[in-house]
């Protein structure tokens, strides 16, 4: 039986010295643990538990290049690419393929907020890095272990106690290498007591002709009383694959909102793992997928209520057309002795073509009596009565369908707590449904080439 992991393990074994020379000791220490964890590991196949719809063995089996030697890519991504979410007055950072662009390689303090690549953060904030890097990510997950094994850099974002970041921080990740490539992306976000920050990542692919795989891990620490917004948007190409795992440690009274948006992609598996560790914490976990063609979007969520009197609200919506495949598996766990937890989960899906497929699996596991929890999942088509009503007012069938599809996802967008982004998302979704959203909108060079 094949094992797609083997090629990466072999690569590590061959390149270990090079990798370690280029990386902070902290990353290298975990690398060795990851190597052990991968010893007998296998990537999940389609149909195995929690992978009803996705085959990671196939995703990782492709022969991607890995930029072990840290060869620089020349293009300045800021010049070559304009993200589809401009004008937000964000503090803007770019990564192209696996490297942060110079804008992020110099440590930047925006007010008192620290944004720095790991290489610098390991020197300047060794205690924070040491205390939190890799602490949440599960090595039992082979994709997470693989990320730790090969990662060479990441972005460290630190908001000290009491600091409210004035401007949102935006990270634009771009694939533009002229070869098939796999990258390990990594974020560590530490938000101090009573601090607040809004983050936006946008994953883009500039070259539609190459196979790319982004294997990313994000760790978020929300300290007591903090507020964290994390918007994670993907607009990539049919040949782009993404496996992303987000881990959140929520402490008492923290308020965390995560909104994962997929507008265009190839294969995407998004894992969300939220540990609610302190009382009175509030969690908003939202997701929106619009998929057509052969797009594949699989979301897996786990919210663990480990403390009493917390509130979580989860809603994922999918609109699937053509031969798109969507999957949602969500689990809410309320541990013993966690009274007064309120946890709501919803997954609503529209299949606008009979060839589109949706897999959904809501789960509640509750070990405390005095809680309020609910889950609901539905797959359906557009409301025929509403369509007819609109048509009698002169709205053509295509336009009526678009309006209804936009309306369907509107509440997920309205959950965005950043007005400019909310408006922009409504606009992008409108374009997406109208079929006029293309990567060319933001791409400055690919069009010149063709």
């Amino acid at each position: 039986m094949n094992n797609a992991l083997q090629q990466y393990i072999d690569l590590y074994d061959e390149s270990r010295e090079v990798l370690e020379q280029q990386s902070p000791a902290l990353l290298n220490n975990l690398r060795r643990e990851a190597r052990q964890a991968l010893e007998n590991a296998r990537l999940p196949r389609k149909g195995s538990e929690d992978y009803e719809a996705s085959d990671l063995e196939v995703v990782f089996a492709h022969d991607y290049g890995v930029n072990v030697n840290r060869l620089p890519f020349e293009a300045d991504p800021a010049e070559a690419f304009h993200c589809d979410v401009p004008n937000l007055s964000t503090c803007l950072y770019y990564s192209s393929n696996d490297a942060f662009h110079s804008s992020a390689t110099a440590e930047r303090n925006i007010g008192q907020v620290v944004v720095a690549p790991f290489s610098m953060a390991a020197e300047d904030y060794p205690e924070l890095m040491g205390a939190y890097y890799g602490k949440q990510a599960h090595l039992q997950d082979p994709t997470v272990a693989l990320n730790l094994l090969l990662v060479q850099d990441g972005l460290f974002i630190y908001v000290p106690d009491g600091v409210v970041a004035e401007r949102p921080i935006q990270l634009v990740n771009i694939f533009n290498a002229a070869l098939d490539m796999m990258v390990q992306r990594r974020l560590l976000i530490i938000v101090g007591k009573n601090a607040a920050v809004k983050l936006l990542t946008c994953d883009h692919t500039q070259s539609p002709d190459y196979h790319y795989l982004s294997n990313q891990v994000v760790e978020i620490v929300a300290m007591p009383g903090s507020t964290v917004d994390y918007y994670d948007m993907e607009e990539s190409t049919p040949l782009t694959r993404r496996v992303s795992s987000i881990y959140v440690d929520q402490q008492a009274g923290s308020n965390v909102l995560i909104n994962g948006i997929t507008l265009t992609n190839g294969f995407t598996r998004n894992n969300y793992h939220v540990e609610v560790n302190g009382e009175h914490a509030e969690t908003h976990l939202l997701g929106m997928t619009i998929a057509s063609g052969e797009q594949h979007v699989d979301s897996h969520t786990f919210i663990s209520h480990n403390a009493p009197r917390c509130h979580s609200n989860e809603m994922f919506k999918y609109v699937l057309n053509d031969k798109a495949v969507g999957a949602f598996a969500g689990k809410i766990l309320v541990k013993p002795d966690c009274p007064r937890v309120e946890a709501y989960q919803g997954n609503r899906n529209l299949c606008s073509a009979p060839t589109a497929k949706m897999y959904t699996k809501p789960q509640l596991e509750i070990y405390t009596d005095d809680v309020m929890c609910s889950h609901g999942s539905a797959v359906g088509q557009l409301d025929e009565e509403a369509l007819f009503y609109m048509r009698t007012r002169g709205i053509g069938i295509d336009e009526a369908r678009r309006l209804l599809m936009q309306a369907f996802v509107a509440d997920v967008i309205d959950g965005v707590r950043l007005d400019a982004l909310k408006d922009r998302l409504h606009y992008l979704v409108e374009k997406r449904f109208a079929g006029t959203l293309s990567n060319c909108a933001g791409c400055m060079t690919a069009c010149k080439k063709s």
């Binding site: 025929e384 609109m390 007012r393 069938i397 309006l403």
Partner: protein, 252 residues
């Protein structure tokens, strides 16, 4: 403007309309009455092109065009309007967006430029006043959370915005209190002109006190079995439908 000849229609293989004949001219108000299940709402659904119904025979001409060959949206553009008995709630679609799209689709159909935002809002304000529709309702999602009366007023508001040539009011009086009924009726009367026409579908004489019909038709078992002037509505109010049913059933 409207010539219906021997119109027959069915839903799920059940024949509902069994040969309707009706001619409507500009400036006229026609009332269609009849007992429950006689096919009144089916007639309005078939005229507006509801895909749940199948036309099995007959023809409908609207200003010389074959109405049945047009899509529901094109029928609307050509000037046909239906005020729904049960207006549909569309969560997430704002009234403003809904009306602007509807108006601009119509303008596109006639090769006109879209209305500017300022002109559109001005038009909304003007037409809202006709049925005293609150601005708050206009900024909400279509019919979502509207009371029964608000929904019906909203129907007439849309009618005012779209300026149809032929309006079908399908039991617009159902679920309305007296005040709302007056507002709706006065809205309809304000919009009435010598160039447009109205078909009022109703169970009761009450609405016809406010919207005066020129003709009253009785629909029974999928056919128009009796047509007369407005005095017929009064007679029906007094005597009910049984005498007509008996008359028709004995002929069969």
């Amino acid at each position: 403007m409207l010539v219906i000849k021997d119109l027959q229609a069915s839903i799920e293989d059940k024949q509902i309309l069994k040969g309707i004949n009706l001619t409507v001219k500009p400036g006229e108000v026609h009332a269609i009455m009849g007992p429950n299940g006689s096919g009144k709402s089916t007639l309005s659904a078939v005229l507006t092109g509801n895909p749940a119904y199948t036309v099995t025979g007959g023809s409908v001409e609207f200003y010389g065009k074959d109405l049945l060959a047009l899509s529901p949206e094109d029928r609307a553009h050509e000037g046909l309007f239906l005020s729904f008995q049960y207006p549909v709630e569309i969560p997430g679609v704002s009234m403003v967006n809904f009306m602007r799209t509807a108006l601009n689709e119509k303008r596109k159909y006639f090769g006109q430029e879209p209305l500017s935002a300022a002109d559109f809002l001005k038009l909304m304000r003007e037409k809202r006043a006709i049925v005293q529709l609150d601005n708050k309702l206009a900024s909400r999602a279509v019919n979502e959370g509207f009371s029964g009366g608000e929904k019906k007023r909203n129907e007439i508001f849309q009618m005012a915005m779209l300026e149809p040539k032929l309006s079908i009011l399908d039991e617009t009086d159902s679920g309305l209190d007296i005040d709302a009924l007056r507002i709706v009726a006065s809205g309809v009367n304000t919009l009435k002109s010598k160039d447009n026409a109205t078909i009022v579908i109703t169970h009761y004489q009450r609405l016809l006190d406010y919207i005066k019909p020129d003709f009253v038709h009785v629909l029974y078992k999928g056919r128009i079995v009796m047509s007369a002037g407005p005095e017929l509505a009064l007679e029906l109010e007094e005597k009910g439908y049984d005498w007509i049913k008996e008359q028709v059933d004995s002929q069969q």
